[in-house]
Symmetry: C2
């Protein structure tokens, strides 16, 4: 049975880190809901991909979703300056729902203060931030820690998709 | 007597956070040297400002400068993925030279692991990173800690310029 995946996104996301996992999730029968600052806004990736927000962060609640997907690029750092996205993220981590974060995606997990003692990876520039946040960092293409799946770069997308699809099989809202 | 200020920069810097302090430093008789990945490269700000790199990070050494200036925006996070910029930054902090970082600029100080016990501020999105790095964070327009001057946003530029100019009066290479 398909699961419902909240995807938090704003301008400057790394294009393939949204498009490729979203395609894989949909092909496996899951629903991807893009959550932006405003419903209907056009969100542009750093290389020009355009995505329309299905919902505003003001109108969604974590209880309605089985998992959270955080693409990388320059999007997560901007989202974590908005307390609503931080609280939304924290709710998924606290409930041990599926959380899939790639590249700079774990920046939202850091600001939500949810990585203490968790095994994780991320893009090179945020490695010191991950360690300082109390994460057990590994330089691997994908790290799975309970229902938290993290990867480093677009090159890791196949492994990221494989492991997040496995988590989607078992999580429930 | 004018001081020599190393300015580390790459694409996506917040335009005014480079142009306004650089103008103030030059007007006060100091020299601003823009250091990029390649000498002569054109570096573009997030709002379109163009700056030519005076030197490559491969060809400079901290001993040649009195101070380091780190404008914000999306530039610092990219610079800290390059170990040469991280080592360059660490040398200025270790020598207690002038270090002026605004907005996301302190991200380089975090990756260089130089903020433990230091008083600092920065853009909202990096506050948790600053705290996790051991900094004593204050939500103020400018924070001065010995020769380290930090600010949060473009609105803080007047205070940032005022305090960094004071530090430039006293630092030496």
């Amino acid at each position: 049975m398909g699961k419902k995946i909240a995807t938090v996104l704003t301008n400057g996301f790394e294009d393939s880190e949204y498009t490729e996992p979203a395609k894989a999730y949909k092909e496996a029968g899951h629903e991807v809901v893009v959550i932006g600052k405003e419903k209907g806004e056009t969100i542009t990736g750093e290389h020009g991909a355009k995505v329309t927000a299905d919902a505003s962060i003001a109108d969604v609640k974590p209880d309605d979703f089985d998992a959270l997907f955080i693409p990388g690029g320059f999007s997560p750092d901007q989202l974590r300056a908005d307390d609503r996205f931080v609280a939304f993220t924290k709710a998924f981590m606290d409930a041990d729902k599926g959380v899939f974060a790639i590249c700079h995606g774990p920046q939202l997990l850091i600001t939500a203060d949810t990585l203490k003692g968790r095994h994780a990876t991320g893009y090179k520039s945020i490695v010191q931030d991950l360690k300082n946040a109390g994460a057990n960092f590994s330089d691997e293409e994908v790290v799975v820690c309970s229902n938290l799946v993290t990867s480093r770069t677009p090159d890791d997308i196949p492994a990221f998709n494989r492991e997040s699809l496995k988590v989607l099989e078992k999580v429930t809202a």
